[in-house]
């Protein structure tokens, strides 16, 4: 047995196969991207414990994640906020965690996507379980996990094939195998859901340009929203969610913290659905009245309207820049937030 020959042949095959694999996926239009996983989120969450009263933390779902652009915020306000919003998530578990497990007493901007904010407080329901999993990961992460994340970042940034993306755009072996179907024994009714954003180390998200130029691509995402809206999901639990939020809010206010509520734009079928299931008067307006904090609904400001929302829910990258600037101008005008003195 000549293991020296074997190891050389093995390494050669591995290197050639990986280079080929990488080139293949790049030719298919994939690029190296960071994964918006729990480890990346936890890095940002850890920063909250060291923030000052002047700092801002963003919590919410994908709309705040897409629509608030951290670079624009930094240009205008002098400091970047911490981005803790995440897709499909209710903001309540993360808000609860910051209020109860940190001493932060600055400003928390809470994104209110009605279908998620008022959805549930049931721990196993997805809008709650997903953000709670991130919170739990942060509190339980080991040093080994932190090291893994640290070492994996340059690899994620360099190689397309290193990807945790799930679903139709997943390209690791497990995801590729999950896309193989040989008959209809079990049918997944959900339409294919493409990734349509790219994320940075600071968790700033920007919509891919393809969403603006490729209507068919945008339509795939619209079909997914329609699928979610057409299902017989549980009705919103306004009472429980509002009571949970208001209780944490009082606690946060009592220690000097400030909260801003933000309803980001939506459009088309999705907006109609939201107006129908979670009408503004009985959900948003009631929340604002009970919370008694600065609150901003896009419908109340012409400058926050008529922006491009290719798939009815999130702004294009350029319009997210505009939205962020306009929204900050409103906050500054209302003296809710002030640019830092160094800016």
């Amino acid at each position: 047995m000549n293991l020296k020959h074997s190891v050389l042949i093995g390494l050669l095959i591995t290197v050639i196969a990986l280079i080929t694999w990488e080139i293949y996926w790049r030719n298919q239009g994939f690029t190296p991207t960071l994964d918006d996983n729990e480890a990346l989120w936890a890095v940002q969450r850890a920063k909250v414990d060291n923030l000052s009263k002047e700092d801002v933390v963003l919590v919410g779902s994908s709309r705040v994640h897409f629509d608030i652009q951290l670079d624009e915020w930094e240009k205008k306000m002098g400091e970047k906020p911490i981005q803790l919003a995440a897709g499909g998530c209710s903001p309540l578990p993360v808000f609860h965690d910051i209020v109860n497990n940190s001493s932060f007493n600055g400003t928390i901007l809470v994104g209110v996507t009605p279908g998620l904010f008022f959805s549930t407080t049931f721990p196993k329901a997805q809008p709650w379980a997903w953000p709670q999993a991130r919170v739990d990961y942060f509190h339980n992460r080991t040093y080994a996990q932190q090291l893994n994340h640290f070492f994996s970042l340059p690899l994620q940034n360099s190689f397309t094939f290193i990807s945790e993306t799930e679903g139709v755009d997943g390209i690791n072996l497990k995801e590729l195998l999950m896309k193989v179907h040989i008959n209809d024994r079990v049918v997944d009714p959900m339409p294919p859901f493409h990734t349509f954003e790219e994320i940075r180390l600071d968790r700033n998200v920007r919509m891919l340009k393809r969403m603006e130029t490729d209507t068919a691509f945008a339509n795939t995402v619209k079909r997914v929203w329609k699928f979610f809206m057409s299902g017989e999901g549980p009705p919103p639990d306004k009472k429980a969610t509002m009571s949970f939020f208001l209780s944490d809010l009082e606690k946060f206010k009592a220690r000097g913290g400030k909260v801003i509520l933000l309803r980001c734009p939506s459009d088309g079928y999705l907006r109609d659905f939201e107006n129908n299931v979670t009408p503004r008067a009985t959900f948003w307006d009631e929340l604002v009245q009970k919370a008694n904090v600065p609150a901003y609904h896009f419908e109340d400001y012409t400058q926050l309207q008529n922006l491009t929302i290719p798939e009815w829910s999130h702004l294009t990258a350029d319009d997210a820049d505009i939205f962020t600037n306009e929204f900050l101008d409103i906050l500054i005008k209302d003296q809710v937030l002030n640019p830092s003195k160094s800016n």
Binding site: S6, V7, I9, T14, I162, V186
Partner: protein, 471 residues
């Protein structure tokens, strides 16, 4: 730290560089290995290293006293101290909540109203493994079956040696400590064979267990529904493969990493799914645990020296406790009980029926053994008895109209993979990977090696924890 993580690869490279750099003498290398082992463990939860230290100190002291003490009563007390501390740790950290739950249930059953809040206890990773390993030293010292460790450093390294610290193999003192007495250095071939074993172990874990099988097993056992028989079988077969590849993968990595340092660890698996009967199975599955249970539980309970009834009782007690060792839940006890019953029935049959094993009846009996093993895995994997009951009923095709949740491709994938696994185990039954590799041309081995590395690279995601860490 997990073997299937990038931080471990970096850690291993640093350890190997320090180990083979001509800057440290052997004692310094052992100190470095010990320190690295604490880092390896501490990166998971630093304060729990203290448990390792306590276990090490107690058993070192007990071993030292047992080596010189002649008074039998005092010798027994030293042994009891070691067992009290190690089993105490195990009892508190692993079984604390289980005991509390059952105590509460018992009181409620007899009409006493009592509610207890579950204790917030972290299960220290690998505690079942290192406590059993260090106890084996003290018990062997008590029975004068092993020599006292020459230095505290050798003993501490024996308890903490990172390749096998958290999931075995559970190594006996005489097999490992003596290897630390003289400078060790792997030959080039040993080193490369160690790298090959590490690759195979990672391939088993990352590609076969996590990528190809875990989803199906998780979906089936997490469905919370009465399932179609085919789905129940697919999920159980997937789990049988997953747990084998997960655990054997860890052991193979551990053996490979130790070999890269010139240290030889014993085999922990010998193609168990080709076992003919359950005695054979336990000579092939988790060998270091089954021999531990045999030597430190079954034989002290009487073994086969005190008549048939006592032997069966000893066997059942050993398997029940073996089940409980795997997890603090009654489902694990049932798993152990089933294995105990299988062993008892097998011995009864062997005393009545004598079969000459040949290739044809051998395959049939191996398949029968594997089928019966799958029924035990149901209790091992199911979190509740209701799930286990539904799964067993579906596997026996008693449930009418169970739901279909596994896609056809997944069924095909699992059946093909498990068939290949069984064939591979059957063909390898009486040989070893080393023997086969010696007969294999270097280029073939290289191609296999390359394919495995490639598949590991394109599978690797966030890095799943090894199942046996929770035990």
């Amino acid at each position: 730290m997990l073997f299937n993580s990038i931080s471990f690869i970096v850690f291993l490279i640093i350890v190997l560089a320090l180990y083979y750099a001509p800057i440290l003498n052997w004692v310094a290398k052992k100190r470095m290995l010990l320190f690295s082992s604490y880092v390896f463990y501490g990166l998971w939860n630093p304060p729990l290293v203290i448990l390792l230290w306590i276990s090490t100190l107690v058993d070192w002291t007990a071993g030292k006293k047992l080596a010189i003490e002649t008074n039998n009563r005092k010798r027994k007390l030293w042994l009891l101290l070691s067992m009290f501390v190690n089993l105490g740790f195990l009892g508190f950290f692993k079984y604390g909540n289980f005991l509390l739950e059952n105590f509460t249930a018992l009181l409620n059953t007899i009409g006493i109203e009592f509610q207890a809040r579950p204790m917030d206890i972290i299960l220290p990773m690998g505690i079942s493994f290192y406590t059993f390993q260090t106890m084996s030293y003290t018990i062997d010292m008590y029975h004068k079956r092993t020599e006292r460790a020459r230095t505290f450093l050798d003993f501490a390294l024996y308890v903490t040696f990172f390749p096998q610290l958290v999931a075995g193999p559970i190594v006996r003192a005489q097999d490992l400590i003596s290897q630390f007495y003289e400078a060790k250095k792997a030959t080039i071939n040993q080193f490369l064979w160690g790298v090959f074993l590490l690759t195979i172990g990672l391939f088993q874990k990352v590609v076969l267990a996590d990528t190809l099988l875990s989803n199906t097993a998780d979906d089936v056992y997490g469905a919370g529904k009465v399932l179609h028989g085919l789905d129940a079988w697919t999920g159980t077969l997937a789990f049988s493969g997953q747990i084998f590849f997960d655990f054997a993968g860890y052991s193979t990595c551990a053996i490979g990493i130790a070999l890269m340092l010139g240290i030889i660890l014993p085999d922990n698996f010998r193609y168990p799914y080709a076992a003919i009967g359950f005695s054979d199975l336990w000579r092939r599955w988790h060998i270091s645990l089954s021999t531990w249970l045999r030597d430190y539980l079954y034989i002290p309970l009487g073994g086969n020296k005190h008549g048939i009834i006592r032997m069966y009782v000893a066997l059942m007690v050993t398997m029940l406790l073996g089940g409980l060792w795997h997890g603090a839940a009654w489902t694990f006890v049932v798993w152990g009980a089933l294995h105990g019953i299988y062993l008892v029935v097998e011995r009864l049959l062997r005393s009545k029926i004598h079969i000459k094993i040949n290739a044809f009846n051998g395959v049939f009996l191996a398949l029968l053994t594997y089928t019966l093993v799958n029924f035990t895995w149901v209790f091992f994997r199911a979190r509740e008895f209701s799930t286990a009951k539904n799964m067993i009923a579906s596997m026996l095709f008693i449930n009418d109209g169970g739901e279909k949740i596994v896609p056809s491709f997944d069924i095909l994938k699992v059946f093909v993979l498990i068939t290949l696994l069984f064939i591979c185990h059957w063909m390898m039954r009486n040989t070893s990977m080393k023997e086969v590799s010696l007969k294999t041309p270097a280029w073939v081995l290289g191609v296999v090696w390359g394919i495995m590395l490639f598949l590991i690279a394109i599978s690797q995601g966030s890095g799943e924890q090894f199942i046996y860490f929770q035990f």
